[in-house]
């Protein structure tokens, strides 16, 4: 367990990721959500709450005055308990947050607990001051992780739910060595390019690849193919697999069996 993530400390990160070093000594990167998606999530929740209250008032209207008491208890629950219950019982998500792909977590990356959810929702009272969450908005603009006051006091954070990444494959190309010596971060950039480029348009791929033209000594589609080849070489792919993804898949499968055989 002695491996320490050296890069995390050395390179300042230029986005809203919060790095939490877990007890295992590895940084967990949590993509904090900004005010805009949170406001939208709140709006969805707000409309849902209004719908519940309208439905409740219709029931009250039908049953007469005797059901005023239950209606007021419903009002209380919708106002105070709705966010708390959803955030604790539904993995940190209210329906609005779920729609926007957000999630409340504790600042150390663990799921949010009862007390923290309770505290952050009670303190909405302060964030709402003087009207329409103005204070909370102002504070969250100043905070590097977009937290409102309630989040700070409760020790919570609203993050974007991580999506399942697409499978990590580079396009098949003859592995080749780079014609120049590449620094580690340049190697990483090349591999990242090869993994993401297939989802870009042809023109954009070429445009990006031609940044390397001076040392690739190629232009257009050839430059793209050469970069793919170099990336494959960097990744250590021996088998070029030039005939499409079918063969590539079987190669993956074979390697898995190889791996498990090695362990067993």
């Amino acid at each position: 367990m002695a491996v320490i993530d050296g890069r995390a400390a050395a390179v300042p990160v230029l986005d809203t990721c919060r790095e939490v070093v877990t007890p295992e000594g590895v940084a967990l990167r949590l993509p904090a959500a900004g005010p805009m998606p949170r406001a939208l999530a709140w709006l969805i929740d707000f409309m849902l709450r209004m719908a519940i209250l309208v439905a409740g008032s219709m029931v009250v209207g039908m049953l007469g005055r005797g059901s005023m008491g239950p209606y007021l208890i419903l009002l209380f629950s919708v106002f105070w308990l709705y966010p708390i219950a959803f955030e604790v019982l539904w993995g940190g998500r209210t329906p609005g947050k779920r729609a926007l792909g957000l999630r409340v977590i504790a600042a150390n990356g663990a799921p949010v607990g009862w007390l923290a959810a309770f505290a952050r929702n009670l303190l909405r009272v302060v964030d709402m001051l003087p009207f329409g969450y103005a204070l909370g908005l102002l504070v969250s603009f100043g905070d590097p992780w977009g937290r409102r006051i309630g989040d700070m006091v409760a020790g919570t954070l609203v993050v974007h739910d991580s999506r399942t990444p697409p499978p990590a494959t580079t396009p098949p190309a003859e592995p080749m060595a780079a014609p120049v010596v590449l620094l580690p971060h340049e190697q990483a950039a090349l591999v990242a390019f090869a993994e993401r480029a297939p989802r870009l348009t042809q023109a954009r791929q070429i445009e990006l690849a031609e940044l390397g033209s001076p040392w690739l000594q190629a232009r257009g589609d050839t430059a793209v193919q050469r970069l793919y080849g170099i990336a494959n070489g960097l990744l250590g792919r021996r088998d070029p697999g030039p005939h499409g993804s079918g063969q590539h898949g079987s190669e993956q499968h074979g390697s898995e069996q190889h791996g498990s055989g090695q362990h067993g």
Binding site: T22, A27, R65, G109, V153, A154, A168
Partner: protein, 339 residues
């Protein structure tokens, strides 16, 4: 090591971890599928998880591709949120908190609680006495319409009417008291974040208005129905507001004077302690609402029964707050961290 070799070597481990997280990540699902599980054994999970953390650190250090790092980080995040989640609340823990943890926490904040009590009770008593001496003071606190409303609610000439209300049913008032009183309690705490000023204002305002109403009704001769009405629920209700005020003052104090901590750390601590106090305040106010709606309003009950029940509730509440949890030893400044 080249990335491809790294992936090939560890891929089976990751797949097994992902499979475990999919199948056994949720307690309910895990219980249903306990039999017939052939993946990683549950007790091996922490060790497997630490291995994954090491692999992620290696992958980052060696600059492997973002997609791979992202995948490992996701497995790690899922494992982390499973291993470090807060334990689910259990009924006997909740009961224990209510019986001994909450009173201990209140006593641990005795300074703030006493300050809150002073801010609430002093104006109440002062206004009450002042109105007895100069009854016309009441009209400077409330407008004539409000005064007429109070007098009407506690009219001694109408003994059949319910006390303390115009025509609403008990159930409607129960709902109203929960909505209104608990919201006031929560706001009293939360507004402490405005450097304590919000809490101070709420406490002063409530003290003045309650003292004003009581003083006015006493002065115009409607005292008897009023005291019969408030005798029962005053104990849990007033103490709950004072406790919420104390929690708010603690929060404000932690903001203004964090001591030898970072301000944010002091605030987080004050917030969590305040939230625990608010849980107790919530329970007390719901109980008070119940008493207020279904007991206090009964008009035909002889006064001596009402007053003895009121005295009993005061003894019970104060005894609970002062003695609850004594068997666990003395309460200190940093009490109530665990429950």
């Amino acid at each position: 090591m080249k990335q491809e070799l790294f992936v090939r070597r560890h891929e089976p481990e990751w797949l097994a971890l992902e499979r475990w997280l999919d199948a056994r990540g949720q307690a309910r699902k895990a219980r249903n599928e306990r039999r017939g599980w052939d993946g990683i054994a549950d007790h091996e999970m922490p060790a497997r998880y630490r291995r994954l953390c090491q692999q992620l650190a290696l992958a980052r250090r060696r600059g492997y591709s973002p997609v791979l790092v992202e995948r490992l980080q996701q497995i790690m995040q899922r494992g982390h949120s499973l291993l470090y989640r807060t334990p689910p609340p259990r009924w006997h823990v909740a009961l224990e908190f209510l019986l001994s943890g909450f009173p201990r926490q209140v006593r641990a904040e005795r300074g703030c609680m006493l300050a809150s009590l002073a801010l609430f009770a002093l104006p109440l008593v002062v206004i009450f006495v002042a109105i007895q001496l100069k009854p016309e003071l009441a009209s400077s606190l409330f407008d004539p319409l409000q005064l007429a409303g109070f007098e009407n609610m506690y009219d001694p000439k109408d003994p059949e009417r319910k006390l303390g209300r115009d025509s609403e049913t008990d159930l409607a008032m129960f709902g109203y008291y929960i909505w209104n009183n608990v919201s006031i309690g929560f706001r009293t705490f939360a507004s402490g974040l405005l450097a304590g000023l919000g809490t101070v204002l709420v406490l002063l305002f409530n003290g003045v208005s309650i003292g004003g109403v009581a003083g006015h009704l006493q002065a115009v001769g409607h005292g008897d129905p009023f005291w019969r009405f408030v005798a029962g629920h005053s104990a849990p209700e007033l103490t709950a507001i004072v406790i919420a005020g104390g929690a708010g003052l603690r929060l404000g104090l932690n903001l203004v004077a964090p001591g030898r901590r970072r301000r944010i750390d002091a605030l987080v601590e004050g917030g969590i302690r305040g939230a625990r106090l608010c849980l107790g305040v919530f329970a007390m106010l719901v109980f008070a609402a119940f008493v207020e709606a279904f007991w206090s309003s009964i008009a035909w009950m002889p006064a001596w029964i009402k007053y003895s029940v009121g005295a009993g509730l005061w003894t019970l509440v104060l005894g609970w707050l002062l003695l609850g949890g004594r068997h666990l030893g003395p309460t200190g400044e940093h009490d109530g961290g665990a429950a």
